[in-house]
Amino acid sequence: MALLELRNVSKIYHLGGEEIRALDGVSLDIGGGEFVSIIGPSGSGKSTLMHILGCLDTPSHGTVTLDGTEVQRATPRELAHMRNRKIGFVFQFFNLLPKLNVVQNVELPMIYAGVSGRERRKRAEHALELVEMSHRLKNRPSQLSGGQQQRVAIARALVNDPKIVFADEPTGNLDTHTGEIILALFRKLSQEGRTIIIVTHNPEIAAVTPRRIEIRNGKIAEKVDERLAGLDRLAAKAGSLAPAA
């Protein structure tokens, strides 16, 4: 059984009497340890897909099974629980809490998981070590560069040891070089066996992942877009960065 199973999933919004199908009959399996990118232009429904995969939202129709649990039947409380224990999020705008310092930001998911103070501290420091941010524990997010903030955000996503890490345009707000470092970090995490799903509109990013899922008009495209072909060169380049990171 796959880690994530979508069967005939639709998401329908009603805007002023008009029916908008953000997702239309999507079926999808993602197995444990996969490194996947979900690509598509803005408005294609990829964000909606990620929200549903990430337990932030529930589908209008169809079934979503995450690690054996049926998401569409879960209460908001159970969804929060799943987000807390099974999923880690990395966002385009980092989304660190400005009033907390680095360690406190990383500790946040564990607070909601009810982890004791000492254990929290230990695990947070360990996660920050993984992303090479151990030297800035007491800094506020505003005192860090974008790349550093994103690394803290990744540490936060990893700290509850989730089954899946979602990254929504993780490099969208970073310069190319920093973006490549972050991508290399994801690559490394993937090699360590984590399931990572990157959502992006940028084919160059998607090229880094072995598996690509393209969304167009709320449906999964049969074949990956032509434009993505010939990007192996970029993938190779990203790959060559990996040992450096």
Binding site: R77, A80, L97, K99, L100, N160
Partner: protein, 453 residues
Amino acid sequence: MIFVNSIVVGLKEIWAHKSRSFLTMLGIILGVTSLVGMSAIIKGMENGMKEAMIAMGGVDKVLVRTQPVPAWQDHLADSAPGRTLTDVMALQNSAPLIRLVSPEMALDDVMISRGEKRTEPSECVGAWPAVLEMNLHTLAHGRFFNEIDEAEARPVCVIGTGIRDELFGRPDEIGKEIIPLGETIMIENQPFVIVGMFQEYMGEQEAKERIRQKELRDKQEQAGPKRSRGWGRRGGWAFWRKNMTVYIPLNTAWVRFRSGGTAGSGIPDPRLTDMDIKVADFSRLEEALQQARNVLLLTHQGIEDFSFETQENQIENINKQIKNARLSGGIIAGISLLVGGIGIMNIMLASINERVREIGICKAVGATSANIFIQILIESAVIALIGGLMGLVVSELFVDLLGALTPSANSPVITRNAELVAVAFSVAVGVLAGILPAIKAASFSPIEALRYE
């Protein structure tokens, strides 16, 4: 765990918006100050009233008053005897439920002098030794009158310290305490020998103040000008009045001042100016008064020219006044606290609107709606609690200021209870005020909240 963390985050939130939080708290601070201040003032009033009550003779003292004869006895008005020594004797012999009878014969507008110095006592009264117990006097120096003084109508007197202060000098002005036993003073130009002096009566508040000043004086060793505040009227009217008492034997008052008749009339006036009684058993007050009434009706040949005035009525009055003051004070303070609560609600609503995104992040990393709800509620309660504690400090200062402005027996007293109630009430207000914003914050959908700019 989440609870402690919520408090920490709440404190950070308050610290991040210092001036805004302070202005929000101001409502609570004022509310708590008015609640604590109000109750302190009322407590001071209560203390003052009760002390005055005791200074005037305690609760079991009953005044026998004269009153106009009732309408159906109007034709007998001329034979109304008034209160006389006959009544006193009758009560002593025939009313066993009456423990103590104290007749008084007061002299009006008396001038007391010694050399150049002169003063008017609050009362100059011919009395029996029973007056000591009746008016709760304590003799500090010398003796009170004995049977011989009474029988021979001797010119002796017992004075309060206020009279001593006026005629011989205040201890804190002349540096030593004079005990004028054996000295002669003139009462209405007749020489009287002082045989006794009462202790100095003062309120609790004044006694403390006195000790403080004494310590201060000991330190300064009389440096600087002598302190004189007012006209010996410190410590409230009731104490001043008690300290300005002059007693002479009843018979002396009669023989030397009254038997010649009051000014102009030339007719001797044997009527007493006051007749106070104390009952043997306070729980049988009604019965005792009935008995006294029966005896007095006999001596007055059925003419009802007297009535009883118990201090019970007065205590009831005091309690009623205090209750009313508490109620109105409580309502005013409660309203201001409520207004403070509305301020908190307002600021919490503004605060969560600013933090929609943060709330979205918390939800994305696993916060449940309940977590968010409790977080906001705690923040709101923490603001109110800090405001409440600051309010206690402010009220302390406020009451000190009031006390400094009115150095009397009625200076306000802060009670622990009032403080507890005020803080508890402000926290309750904070929690109530937080409910609406907390519901709002908890109901954000994580996606919407994350998208919010």
